[in-house]
């Protein structure tokens, strides 16, 4: 995994894809979808606990990408971060709209003969997944739980404090410490997590 200072070629092409989408290039949007669908869908499915809702929001996300690609500024962030942040935001909005959550049974969410088509993406994501799993495992349990409640369940610091019956100040400290620790553990490998 390259840790070079210069942007990776793949990253440059993703920037160009977003610029192309901003110019109205449908094929660029299709390529973006093909490249990011697995990671975004996985995130949405985790947050929403429903395949149907996740697919619905995934569609909304890419329609928003189509409308707002012109807002992306490569000086202020990476395409991956922009897309994931957008997707998470839509998912949390949808989560708050839903009256109740439905459990996602993984066996029900997955078709019997479903295959993930892009073998290269599989390998790449497996590596990234492992990196993140190890990093999270390196966090103290309270910090890990706080980060997960915030990121995957959309809870604010006050809501986490209520849920965990913990003082708000403690939650804030754990959240900040957890993010600092996570960033340290990911280290330079964070550049490849995209």
């Amino acid at each position: 995994m390259s840790l070079g200072v210069q942007p990776e070629p793949a990253q440059i092409s993703e920037v160009e894809l977003l610029h192309a989408v901003a110019r109205g290039d449908e094929s660029a949007l299709a390529r973006l979808y093909d490249h990011y669908r697995l990671i975004l869908f996985g995130l949405l499915a985790r947050i929403l606990n429903s395949r149907e809702e996740a697919e619905d929001v995934l569609q909304e996300v890419f329609l928003q990408v189509w409308r707002r690609a012109g807002d992306f500024d490569e000086k202020r962030g990476r395409p991956f971060t922009w897309l994931v942040t957008l997707a998470r935001s839509r998912a949390i909005d949808r989560l708050r709209l839903l009256a109740s959550r439905q459990r996602l049974a993984v066996s029900a969410a997955r078709d019997a003969d479903e295959e993930t088509s892009d073998a290269v993406a599989d390998t790449f994501h497996a590596e990234q997944r492992e990196i993140m799993a190890q990093a999270l495992a390196g966090l103290p349990e309270e910090q890990r739980k706080t980060l997960k409640l915030a990121y995957f369940e959309g809870l604010t610091q006050s809501e986490i404090a209520v849920k965990l019956k913990t003082p708000l100040g403690t939650v804030k400290t754990r959240m900040r410490s957890g993010m600092i620790k996570l960033r340290e553990l990911l280290g330079d490998q964070k550049k490849s997590l995209r």
Partner: protein, 278 residues
């Protein structure tokens, strides 16, 4: 709140976990603090990496229809407004600006052309209305014709059902009518049950002339008793449901003649079909 306090909020902000008051304060600060904007971008990278924690060992695959729907939506314009443009990436669009000094000199010409165009549009609309009205009338007529056909078919079906009941009834009788030399190829069958219900099935009878119809006769006590009238179709087939007169519940025979379409009390020769006398 001092700058350092905002700085400390940035990780939580990247997680979307700030309470609303803190979020508003941080947003306001970020509008003017380039340093915090850069720090936030880094924290957002860290937060976005958490998406990989949601990945299954075998990643969940969205249905292919999601991709299709997205592309369909953007092609049909269902994705709301077109993508906004960044500076330097504008699409070329035709100018919609009309020079001010041209506006007044074009106005009276525009009025005239506008009036002509409006007149033409009105004429076209009137012509369209006329065509539509005629179509509507034709459709109504066709509908009436079809309704009549349906009614006739239903009546035919009813008669045929009754014929089956009569023929299948216990104690039913059947008589065969043979065409005379007037209509040598004609043939008919009359079936009747003990209650007196009768059905006639005829074939090979040419369609009667306008104002005329075939009439069934019951022969009893040496006298012909009038039955009902019927007509045949182009194939020469005709059916009739009738009831034996009280005096002819055990008829000696049957006959068919051609009569005025309202029917008569005594038969008009020649006889077209007759059964064997018993």
């Amino acid at each position: 709140m001092v700058h350092e306090e905002y700085n400390e909020m940035l990780p939580a902000m990247a997680l979307g976990a700030l309470d609303i008051e803190d979020a508003r304060a941080a947003d306001a600060h970020l509008k003017t603090c380039v340093e915090c904007q850069a720090f936030l971008a880094e924290w957002e990278d860290t937060a976005a990496a958490l998406a990989f924690a949601a990945l299954e060992e075998i990643p969940l695959e969205p249905s292919p229809r999601v991709r299709s729907r997205i592309l369909e939506a953007i092609r049909t314009g269902a994705a709301d407004e077109a993508p906004p443009q960044k500076g330097g990436q504008k699409r070329v669009e035709p100018s919609k600006v009309i020079a001010f000094h041209d506006r007044q000199s074009r106005w009276s010409a525009a009025q005239t052309w506008g009036a002509i165009a409006a007149g033409l549009v009105l004429l076209a609309l009137l012509a369209s209305l006329l065509v539509l009205w005629r179509e509507n009338q034709r459709t109504k007529q066709e509908l009436a014709r079809l309704s009549n056909q349906v009614r006739d078919a239903e009546e035919q079906l009813s008669r045929e059902r009754q014929a089956i009941e009569i023929v299948a009834a216990p104690g039913a009788h059947m008589a065969e009518l043979i065409g005379t030399n007037v209509v040598p190829n004609a043939h008919a069958t009359v079936a009747y049950d003990p209650s007196g219900r009768a059905v006639l099935l005829a074939q090979g009878l040419p369609a009667p002339p306008p104002g005329k119809a075939y009439q069934l006769w019951f022969i009893a006590g040496g006298k012909p008793l009038p039955g009902r009238v019927f007509i045949t179709d182009a194939s020469g087939a005709g059916t009739l449901n009738d009831h034996l007169p009280a005096q002819a519940l055990n008829p000696a025979g049957f006959a068919i003649t051609l009569e005025p379409e309202s029917g008569v009390q005594t038969p008009t020769p020649p006889i077209y079909l007759s059964s064997k006398m018993s």
